[in-house]
Each structure stands twice: as structure tokens, then as C-alpha cells.
């Protein structure tokens, strides 16, 4: 029972939301772009979006500079 987070294998926790996962993974940056199985999750849905065992999750941190 595991998920893929940015290429790393991480234990799957049943019922966990995107917000829970970000907290568990210690993502401290206040603003992130998240995709679950290639689908973007809007920020306002982080705390209500769950994912299944085997999900591929991408957490994207935009870097300053422009």
C-alpha cells in the first residue's frame, strides 16, 4: 500500500486528503500546485480531496524569478 509523491514511494494512508499529505510530508511552502494522477487539484479542494492506493501525486513548488 503506497503512493508516489514526486517520484518517491510513500506509505498510503487510507482516508488521507491532499492537505493531510502535504502536512505529513512537511511541505512548508505556503503555496503549491498539486496534481493527483495528472489532474490538477485546486487549492480550495486540498482538504477535501482524497486519493487511492497507488496514486501518483505531484507537488510543484514554483521557484522565484521572472
Amino acid at each position: 500500500m503506497s503512493i508516489d509523491v514526486n517520484g518517491d514511494t510513500v506509505p498510503y494512508v487510507k482516508g488521507e486528503t491532499v492537505a493531510d499529505l502535504l502536512a505529513r510530508m512537511n511541505y512548508v511552502f505556503p503555496m503549491l500546485v498539486v496534481a493527483v494522477d495528472g489532474k490538477l487539484v485546486q487549492e480550495q479542494d486540498f482538504s477535501s480531496t482524497e486519493f487511492s492506493d497507488g496514486a501518483k501525486i505531484e507537488v510543484i513548488h514554483l521557484t522565484s524569478g521572472g
Binding site: E58, S64, G65
Partner: protein, 200 residues
């Protein structure tokens, strides 16, 4: 490509409108590239003025120092690509309504500077303009390592990025990479406007 195909491509671009959030290194270079490619209408939002320190990578000139960036850019585009309509909006994007100036454009380009503002903008466009194609960029600092620059596709978001680049707070901003990523953003815009099936 025959003359009829060329004319149809030019007409498609002339009818198109692109919104650009930010007119710094990314935005000014992307705007000039899109104007030269023949995009008919640009909506550019930036509150800043041109400073001498911008000239090393942003599409401005010494005689434009002190001008509003959107005004300077409008002048430059008039000289480089006459006939392109440029709506320059010289104000700061307001948190909560950052997407508002771009509701009527075909494609939005994120060309902002600070990480949190960039992400906030992406989130607000996804929320307030659902389905609107959005081209964003991340990781413009540094030089070399060209093969690290990739396009991450998470429809409707197309992110041009170097995921291993340093933040500009610790790295250095140099024209070749900043302009390369700005022009890649513009190239992705063309792909969206003309249809990915017509990539040439």
C-alpha cells in the same frame, strides 16, 4: 506550407488575444515574441517602472528608464510589430481578483517574479477562469543545463520549468536562460492558439 495555409495561420494569430501577467524578464520577452509572431492583441499587466538594472535581461532600453514598463513595452512593440493592439494595464494584481484582467483573452501567460505570487496567480486563474489555457514558468535563474528545461502538462496548465534551478534569491538571472524560458512560454502559446495537432 503553401500561401493559403500561411494566410490562414496569420489570420488565426491576428484574431488571437493573449494576456500576460508581469512585464519583467519573462513577460517583456514573451510579449515581443508573440507580437512578432503576429498575435493581434496583447493585454499586459505590470505596475513597475523600467530601471537600469533591468536592461541586462528585460526587453527595455536605456532611454526607457523611468517609464512604466507597460508603456515602454507598448512603444517597443509598435516599432517591432506595428499593428498589434497592446492594452497595457499599469497596476498591481490584487490578491483575490488576479485573474480579472484576463477573463476575455484566449490564453494567459504567468510571467511574475516571486514564488508565492506566481503560485497564487496560477491558483486564482484555475479557480476563476476554469478551463482557460495558462502558461506558467519556474526556475529561470542560472545558466547552462539547457536539457533540464521541460514543459509540464497539467491541462489547462502548461508549466515551462527547470525543476532544479535555484530561486533567484540565491541564483543569478542571466539573459540567455530567462529569454529562452520566456520564448518557450510564447512558443507554447502558439501551440495552444493554433492547435497542438498543427504543430510544425
Amino acid at each position: 506550407m503553401d500561401d493559403a495555409e500561411k494566410a490562414s495561420l496569420e489570420a488565426s494569430l491576428r484574431r488571437a488575444s493573449v494576456g500576460i501577467a508581469g512585464a519583467g524578464g519573462l513577460g517583456s520577452n514573451a510579449a515581443v515574441a508573440l507580437a512578432r509572431a503576429g498575435v493581434g492583441h496583447l493585454v499586459i499587466v505590470d505596475f513597475d517602472t523600467v530601471e537600469e538594472g533591468n536592461l541586462d535581461r528585460q526587453y527595455y532600453f536605456l532611454d526607457q528608464v523611468g517609464m512604466r514598463k507597460v508603456e515602454a513595452l507598448k512603444d517597443t512593440i509598435e516599432r517591432a510589430a506595428p499593428g498589434v493592439r497592446v492594452d497595457g494595464i499599469a497596476r498591481r494584481l490584487v490578491r483575490g481578483e488576479m485573474a480579472a484582467p484576463f477573463k476575455d483573452v484566449d490564453v494567459v501567460v504567468e510571467a511574475l517574479d516571486e514564488a508565492e505570487t506566481k503560485t497564487r496567480f496560477v491558483q486564482e486563474v484555475l479557480r476563476d477562469l476554469p478551463g482557460k489555457p495558462l502558461v506558467a514558468a519556474s526556475g529561470v535563474a542560472g545558466w547552462g543545463a539547457c536539457e533540464r528545461i521541460e514543459i509540464k502538462r497539467l491541462a489547462p496548465l502548461h508549466l515551462v520549468r527547470d525543476a532544479r534551478a535555484r530561486s533567484c534569491d540565491d541564483g543569478v538571472l542571466l539573459a540567455p536562460k530567462v529569454c529562452a524560458i520566456a520564448n518557450m512560454e510564447a512558443n507554447v502559446v502558439l501551440e495552444i492558439l493554433l492547435g497542438a495537432e498543427h504543430v510544425d
